[in-house]
Symmetry: C2
Subunit: 306 residues, 2 copies
């Protein structure tokens, strides 16, 4: 596990809890010490950690923010180029591009567990962060069945279910349900605080929940959202259109217009979304990637590997 912050640390904990022989790397001495104090095998020597991975044919999981990705991939290329490789980074196309640049594409499978808190670092990690969570897994053209199965097993063993998805579609989706919520939370925090201590003192559940993720470290928010700028711009344009229409309606007629009914309908759609189980597609079978891709698009998930 390369990077043992909130997500990487939780993967390490969950893997160990599931019986894996797992170890990790963290670049900060503090991070290493914190993980070791909790009894985990974490080291600050990337060469040692990766050489050990190469010797054991371990699955290498990259869990660093986008800005730290390139140097880590250089290390992987140098010390463990033949290991199966995945990542838990918040966007997929930029990671896939960097992986290709480092000529690590052959054994790479993208991943993204959809879980988190507004805290960060090893101290916030937990072995059950992924219990019942979605874990996006890449089914891009050219993905090999072997590393894919390793990544799928890890995600399932961490307690998650799998959502098969290709990189570009993943990035467009998370722009709307993860990156946009982050930006809205920041804006709501600022607009609310514009009402002064009186407003903040009266704030209750709707403001608290609506701004929760604004408590995330700013550098992390930028590292999550900004590499996905094209898709995020589309999502921002959409919400600006919706809010402007509601604003203009309210100003002209005193009513928020269609937005309230539409929002209620879509939140209900989310609440009642059925995640149906994909069965009968075996990694490596003819057309397995296309079939998983299609199933994922239609709301299908994998809860076991046959």
């Amino acid at each position: 596990m390369l990077g043992t912050g909130l997500i990487g640390g939780s993967v390490l904990r969950a893997a160990v809890a599931a019986g894996y022989a797992a170890w990790g790397y963290n670049r900060s001495e503090t991070g290493v010490r914190a993980a070791r104090a909790d009894g985990f095998d974490v080291d600050g020597d990337i060469e040692a950690v990766l050489s050990r991975a190469a010797a054991a044919d371990a699955l290498v999981v990259v869990g660093v923010p986008m800005p730290a990705l390139a140097p880590i991939l250089s290390d992987v290329k140098q010390f463990a180029p033949d290991c199966p490789l995945t990542d838990v980074v918040s966007v997929k196309s930029p990671v896939a591009a960097a992986v290709r640049e480092h000529e690590l594409g052959a054994r790479y499978v993208g991943g993204h567990p959809m879980a988190g808190t507004s805290e960060s670092g090893w101290a916030a990690s937990s072995s059950d962060l992924f219990q019942g969570a979605a874990w996006a897994i890449g089914v891009d053209a050219g993905t090999h069945a072997d590393p894919w199965t390793r990544v799928a097993r890890l995600a399932l063993d961490c307690g998650a279910y799998l959502v098969p998805v290709v990189a570009a579609e993943h990035d467009r989706a998370v722009a709307r349900i993860s990156h946009l919520p982050h930006v809205l939370a920041e804006a709501l925090a600022v607009a609310g605080a514009g009402g002064g201590d009186l407003a903040l003192g009266l704030a209750a559940g709707s403001f608290r929940d609506g701004t929760r993720v604004a408590a995330t470290a700013p550098d992390l928010v930028r590292a999550i959202c900004e590499p996905n700028s094209a898709a995020l711009l589309d999502a921002l344009d959409d919400i600006l259109r919706l809010l402007t229409a509601a604003r203009d309606n309210l100003s002209a007629t005193g009513s928020l217009g269609e937005l309230v009914d539409a929002g209620y309908t879509e939140r209900n759609r989310y609440d009642t979304l059925e995640r149906w189980e994909i069965t009968g597609i075996r990694p490596g079978d003819h057309n397995w990637l296309e079939e998983l891709h299609d199933a994922g698009r239609r709301g299908g998930v994998l809860r076991t590997l046959d």
Copy 2:
């Protein structure tokens, strides 16, 4: 208690739990039956309920949505014009104006408990909804100490603390920390669902929390937000400016700009807000309303009455 939905029903439950002799009115037969089945003294005959209040000099609490306010105030004027009167409606200036139109201003004190869920109706009510919550209480010019003290006692006995505020400032504040979050939640639900089942299937905490209040019944959302349109328009203009600036920055430079740091700072300001305790101001003392108003503006709250 006139109206026994989520808020009114919770006030009735909390008052009874605190030892009050309390009874209620609900206009729907279903609502009356549900409350009675739980052992509460609720009736569908407004004349009987209010005549009993008049005979007992009971504190009358109005807990109906804005659109249902005027007929209820007509009934109060007719059957219990001399009772102390308060309300738990989400805006204060429009309620105060309606109260004045019905010539009920002399014994009126505005109120607004800052608590709720996305559910509604008696079934969602609970006696501990207001435990540890803020309860805005009117300190507008001309408020009389007697009914004010009755309202303050009720709120404290329901487990809340008091935030003294005048109507116009209350409405501007809640536009930012309650009505704006509702509108954003609706818009986020629509923008997220625009990504289809794949996006909704990947949605996790940030989307779930950011859209939570979009599950509120649409009629109720409109009844909460639309009577506060002037203040809500200001808040919407603010957030449209913030989001547009972030969007333009992202498009031009790849960075979300100042918004992320500002949002983090303001969410932290909210998390660490100190609600200091107002002491030494007695209802009816010289300048008590001005002093409470000033203290409330500066973040002061009342946790007891001397």
